[in-house]
Every structure is written in structure tokens, then in C-alpha cells.
Symmetry: C2
Subunit: 458 residues, 2 copies
């Protein structure tokens, strides 16, 4: 079985005791309780690099899940994405402990200013030698807005309008403020930077204003690799213009294939090529030497799942408070103002209504990401078939137990994928962008950011 | 010669080609051109730890110096604090490469929100295992405000009013949101956090509003060690209330002693003890085996000083544009709206007017920090006499060439100080606060932040 292109893999992490599966910090193969220790991150980065993974992707949430039961109790008690640390801080330690693996860092632009934010990501790109990506999010938790002294989050479409404005401002800072060749570091002449090649950015947008030179000289990639996950109509339009890597949810190959097709078509409409975007599908993998052992392992994991904690997450994603519904009652999903993509996928993919108990369980049919279970060979078959049949480029491997699930994947699935020619056997040299696309290190001229490069040249 | 207390030492750094002395990146012992490479930082951190220094202190400036000649040309050309990267990003790599040395990280609170900011510094404190400090600044460059889309910086006193409000908000988040014992990580019961011990902070101040739980569980120090450098009247009042470490400028022992005395007296007025504040004096050291060699070394350094770059820095600090004044003309300093402390010290300490050429030179009389030159024994004598005669606790060692000046200090001066019993021969265990004060890891109850700890306990 062959694949149409080299498969891409990220490990999907978060600076919190458990990410997508509540309660798993209690499992013996899980080090989630050490999420606030640097060694958790550096050893995980080294493991990811041993497995030749493309990137460590660090999600973030800026608030506590407090929809379930109208309180944060279940999330706090179970450690479900709470507490949650700043995802940008561990990056330099991981970069120093590795050489190739990339870092996707989530940041909610709603609470940032482009001028300050652009410097932070330029700094990350310098210190990782061009291995950094930015996952663009706009936030969906009211508790985050509250923390910032606001009454509510912005409406979904206003969030995206502001995001468009933010992107224009950071593109100007990253791409147009410092010309190529502005910085010479010339000891003989004493010139560090040619001042005439550094331009003041004047951005006077509806949401953001900037009137300054970017504070950082150009980093290896200038603009970090741009990740995005919007799957609402407005979100897809945003991704089609701006994103280089897109996260897709869904458990039916048909719906995922449609999402990928729509995305690439829209990208073309914005003057980009279909392959300018790499699509990653969230994916849960349980692998063992035999299928029976894999099933036993899943049963073992299941014993550690925290039902209330898990419901607090799904309640936050969907806006539905499950607390007053009996576990065996069925629920009907409707679209909400929260993470629309979650609800859409739960609705589109649902073969039937779910019981609340199923909502809180692994691999519920219709959940956000496929659940692939089996031997290394079976898992590899299934991964490759997803790529072949949907047009995705690869997977975000969901943390079930950490580092346990990643370790099993690296040791058992990676060699199997390699033996079929479906996965690299060594890293390509260069920046994250070059590793992912064989092109770079800078945004290409078809991208709205790349198009601004050199635009202020005198 | 003995000292009244164990002397404290920081290396004073900045994420930029040159910090206080423009042009020095051209010197063979300087790696300033590598300021954007992680290895510059990790090897410097290891050097500082080899010398048992208390902390690596990273300054920051949020804008480009553009007073001199009314443009940023001189600063950019000479690499004088431009470009300048985010000081928080390299910390985790340095923390991972060391075990004891602390990190003082500058952040301008004017452009931060307490909710988001508190999480970032909690994360730094977790990942450094309690080795982080925060240097509180409010910003003085108009170009920084411009970058943020504002017309001007806030006036000096308003900046401090807002800073007071900001401090109240972050103290509540760091000290009162999560009770001691809230987080149990109890695998048996499945309880990560006791929800009833986590409190929503409601801060409704004149400048900042917060209505949320802190996103981070308590870090080793909760509140990072607080550094501050204000020496205006309002700045001293702020430092006397909030600071644990204070940076003092000045080149006359009399004026420095008066500053220290005023500061400790004011601290007492706010209910703190005189020794609750450690005072650090900025200090330039040129050391060599003989006095003649030290003088030769200074002459060697002088050849690399960039006069225009240096004037662009002093122009930014004082608000005086030197560009149209001949190098041999004398200048008179007056107080400005910029860094008042600089001008005050230049005025108070000046035995006579300066020529512009002197303003741009090393060790000009009346400049911000003493210039100590000599053999290891002479330097040690002088450092100890400053401590004994002024009541300061130690020094911020200014980067002349980096890592050259620090390396010479570590190899030549540290052993000399140790042999006189004036400097530690090993690190104390524990957090930065415990290392500095022999007390901690948390703020004491005399401090306004410490006083809030547990204040929301039900």
C-alpha cells in the first residue's frame, strides 16, 4: 500500500495535566502530573525527535471550563485542561534539547497586540533556528474574557474580522519592516544594521494600530509557520487565506475528504496552490503487539477516564451542560456559539443520538477524531488509508497517556510506516517550513504575508 | 577587610547586540552578534553559575532609541539596544542548562494585562523551579507607545498609579486565587485540585479589571522575586512598597548611601524591615593581572566604542538630542520626562559640565554607574568598600564585552572575594528568594503581596 505523499505527524500536547482525555494523569504510563516540570517537555521533545515527528503541537486554552454544572468544579477536580500554563515558555528548553523537531505554539490573538506579539514569535523563531509555528486561535471561553476584564467574548464573526486585521499588522511587521540585507553585522565598518533598510510600519486597521519598526531583525522564517483550525464557514475562509497547516476534525472519511477538498478549493480562489496547505487530522491511536492486547490496553485506559471531567470538556466545546442529564439519556447536539466545528462534526457524523455516557467515552462514534486500534501493521494500514482516501497530509496524534501513547507510536508504528515508504527515515535540513513543504524558509509570494515582503523597499 | 553582609552579584544582560556600551559587539571578546542564538544564552548562564552569581538580569526596552538626531539611525547602525528580542523566551533553555542561578526578567506592565501576564510569570517560575524574578518597568520610550498604536506614553505619575493597580491585581492572582493545599494530585481519589480551594479573583481597579481564577496552580515562589529601579520620588515610594531587589545608579558613595538609606526608611514606613530590600548598584569592572594591563584593556575597549551609538542611548535616557552639539562643547543636564533617575544622577553627581565627547565615553564622572579598574585585589577592595560605605547589598555587573567581561570577573574577582569571605563558595539550596534572603520561598507577610495570601480562604 502506498501513499500519495510523505505522511506528516505531530504530537498534540498541552501544558496541563490532561488534554483531550480527562483523568488520564492517574495512569501509570502518564506523567501528566509533571506538566509543570521542564524535564517533562525536554524528554518528550527528544522522544518526538527520535520518532522523526514533524512537530510538537502545544494547544492552549485561556480560561477554565465552567459550562458543566455551571461551575469549574469538575474541570478543576479532574485536572481537565486546568491548571494550564503558558505554552510559549518551554519552547527554548525543548529547542536546546533537540535539533530538528518543530514547535507549534498556540496563541489567542484576541488578547494580544500585534506589535508585542510579533516580537515574541520572532524571538521564538530566532531561538529555535526557524522551527516555530503559530496556531492562530481567537478563543471561545467566556471565562477567558472575564479574566481580561471583559463582559463576554466577541461574536464569532467579529473575532474573525479582528483576526484578519491582526494578521495584516503582523505580516507588515514580520515581512516588510526589515528588508533582506538590512542587517550586516559588519565589524570593519561598524555597521550592524543599515537604517535605510528598516521601515516604520503604519497600520491603521479597524481593530489594531501600529506605528513603529518591528523590534526584531528578520528571523529564519520571518513569519512562523501558520497553523489554524477553523472549520466554520468563516473559519475555512480564514484558513484558506492564511493557514499553511490546518487541523481538521471528523471521524468519517467522507466528511474529512469534503473538508479537505473545500479548503484546497478555497485556497485556490485566494490565489494559492492546493498543496500550499497541509491538512492534519486529529487521531487517537492505541497500538500493541496483537489486536487483543490493544483492546486490553484500551480497557485499561478506560478505567482511568474521569466521566465528569470529560463531560466538562465536551460541555465547554459544545456549550451543552450535561450535568442534569442522566448518563444513559440520549442527547441531541445543536450548533452553539462555542467551538462550532465540534458541534458540526458531532452533528454531521452522528449515526444516531448519543447517550451522555458515550459522550464521555473513548472513541464515541461521531466524536472529533478517529480512534485507531490494533497492531502496528493494522494501525499503519488505517493511517495510510485515511491519507489516500481523504487527501489529508497527516495526523495530530492525540495524547491519551503522555508520554506512553507517543512512546508506543514511535517504537511500533513509525518503523512500520517507514518500512512501507510512507514516512521519512531522516529529517530534511532547514527550517520547519522547509521540512514541511520542501520550500522556504520564507512564505511564498502567493501567501498574503509573503506578498508583503519587500513592499516598503525605497 | 570584611563586609557587613554576603555580597550579591548579578550579570546585567539584554537580548540585543550591545547593552550599555554601544559598538562593543565589534570587540574580539564579544559575542553580541550572537544575541539571537540560544547558545549565547545557555553558555553565559553556565558561566554565571560557575561564578556563583545570584542572577542573570535581562533588561529590555520596548522601542528604538530615536531622540538623537530625531531618528533611529544611530541606534540601528551601531546596534545600540536595537534590534531587541523578548527577554522571557530564552529563560527555560538557560534554566535547563543550570541548577541554581536566578533569572531577572524585565517586563513593561504598561502593555500587559494582569491576567495574562500572571500566567506567563507563573509558568516561568514553575519551569525554573522558583528561580525567576520580575523587573517591573513602566516604559519611557515614545516609540514603544507608538508601536502599540498610542499617541504617547502615559505621564510619569500616571504610569506609577497604573503600576500600583497592576500589582494589586497580580498579587491577588498569584497569592489569593489558589490556596495552599488546593492541588493534591491524588491518584487514589482522582482529585487533582480541590475546587473549593480555588477562588475567583474580582479586581475592579481604575486601570485593570479581572474576574477569574488564576490559570496556574501556585508556583514555587508564587510571586516572582520583584525587582525595581525607580529612583524618582514616586519611584522610590513604589519600590519601598513592592520591590525586594532595587537597582540603584550613581557614582558617588555619598549619593548612593543616601538613596539606600531613603529607600530602607520608606520601606519601614510601609511596615517592612530595612533588610527586606536588597540594593544593587550598577557597576562596570575592568580587571587584569596588573593595573597597567587593566588600563591597556580599557584603552582597547575604548577603540570599539561607537560615539554616535552611545549618544543615541544617552539621548534616549535623558531626552537631550546631542546631534547638533559639537563633541567638545559642554552640556548641561536638566530633568526630563524620560528616565528621570538618569538625569538626576547626572545632575547630582556632576562635579562640572560634561563635554559631549565625555558623555559618550566610558566612566565619565557623573555617569550612571561607577567604573572600577584594577587588579583582582584592587577591584575586590573597591567593591567591598562600596558595600561597607553605602549599605548596598551588591552589584549589577554591566556588560562591557560579553561574555568577556563576565568571564574575567568570574575567573579573577570571584576567587578574590571568596578568599576574603565576602562572597559565597556555594549556592544555598532553594528558590531565588531563599537564596537571596535566607527566607521564603514565598513573600513574607510584611509585603503587600504576601499579606494577601490566603485572604480568600472560605
Amino acid at each position: 500500500m502506498s501513499t500519495r505523499r510523505e505522511l506528516r505527524l505531530n504530537t498534540f500536547q498541552m501544558s496541563t495535566p490532561t488534554h483531550n482525555w480527562a483523568g488520564m494523569w492517574r495512569h501509570p504510563d502518564d506523567r501528566g502530573t509533571e506538566y509543570n516540570q521542564l524535564d517533562y517537555w525536554t524528554s518528550m521533545a527528544q522522544l518526538a525527535e527520535r520518532g522523526l515527528l514533524d512537530a510538537i503541537f502545544i494547544a492552549d486554552v485561556f480560561g477554565v471550563y465552567d459550562v458543566y454544572g455551571g461551575s469549574a468544579d469538575a474541570a478543576l477536580r479532574s485536572g481537565a485542561q486546568a491548571p494550564c500554563l503558558d505554552p510559549s515558555i518551554a519552547i527554548s528548553a525543548m529547542a536546546h534539547a533537540t535539533r530538528h523537531v518543530g514547535f507549534g505554539v498556540t496563541a489567542n490573538l484576541t488578547y494580544e497586540h500585534p506589535f508585542q506579539f510579533a516580537r515574541r514569535y520572532s524571538t521564538l523563531d530566532h531561538f529555535t533556528r526557524g522551527r516555530v509555528g503559530w496556531n492562530i486561535v481567537t478563543g471561545y471561553l467566556k471565562s477567558g474574557a472575564s479574566g481580561m476584564g471583559l463582559n463576554d467574548i466577541r461574536s464569532h464573526d467579529i473575532r474573525y474580522d479582528a483576526a484578519d486585521d491582526f494578521m495584516q499588522a503582523v505580516y507588515k511587521l514580520w515581512e516588510a519592516s526589515w528588508e533582506d540585507g538590512a542587517v550586516v553585522r559588519d565589524r570593519a565598518s561598524g555597521i550592524f544594521t543599515h537604517p535605510d533598510k528598516v521601515h516604520v510600519i503604519k497600520h491603521d486597521g479597524p481593530y489594531y494600530q501600529v506605528n513603529a519598526r518591528h523590534l526584531s531583525e528578520p528571523s529564519p522564517q520571518r513569519t512562523p509557520v501558520l497553523y489554524q483550525a477553523g472549520t466554520s464557514q468563516r473559519g475555512i475562509a480564514f484558513a484558506a487565506q492564511h493557514a499553511e497547516c490546518v487541523f481538521i476534525n471528523g471521524t468519517s472519511k467522507g466528511s474529512v475528504a469534503r473538508s479537505v477538498k473545500t479548503l484546497r478549493e478555497q485556497a485556490v480562489r485566494y490565489g494559492r496552490k492546493p498543496d500550499d496547505i497541509a491538512a492534519f487530522l486529529g487521531c487517537n491511536v492505541v497500538v500493541a503487539a496483537s489486536r487483543g492486547e490493544a483492546q486490553d490496553l484500551l480497557e485499561d485506559y478506560r478505567r482511568y477516564l474521569d466521566v465528569q471531567g470529560q463531560l466538562s470538556l465536551v460541555a465547554g466545546w459544545t456549550g451543552i451542560d450535561f450535568a442534569d442529564i442522566a448518563l444513559d439519556d440520549a442527547v441531541q447536539f445543536v450548533k452553539s456559539n462555542a467551538v462550532q466545528s465540534t458541534v458540526e462534526h458531532l452533528t454531521i457524523n452522528a449515526p444516531r443520538p448519543f447517550t451522555v455516557r458515550e459522550v464521555a467515552d473513548f472513541g464515541v462514534p461521531g466524536a472529533r477524531a478517529p480512534f485507531i486500534l490494533g497492531t502496528p501493521s493494522e494501525v499503519a494500514d488505517e493511517l495510510i488509508s485515511w491519507v489516500d482516501e481523504t487527501g489529508i497530509d497527516g495526523f495530530n496524534l492525540v495524547r491519551i497517556v503522555s508520554p506512553g501513547s507517543l512512546q508506543r507510536f514511535v517504537d511500533m508504528v513509525v518503523p512500520e510506516l517507514q518500512s512501507r515508504g510512507a514516512f521519512k527515515t531522516q529529517y530534511r535540513e532547514g527550517t520547519l517550513r522547509e521540512k514541511l513543504f520542501g520550500d522556504g524558509p520564507l512564505l511564498n509570494a502567493r501567501h498574503p504575508g509573503g506578498a508583503l515582503r519587500g513592499s516598503l523597499r525605497g
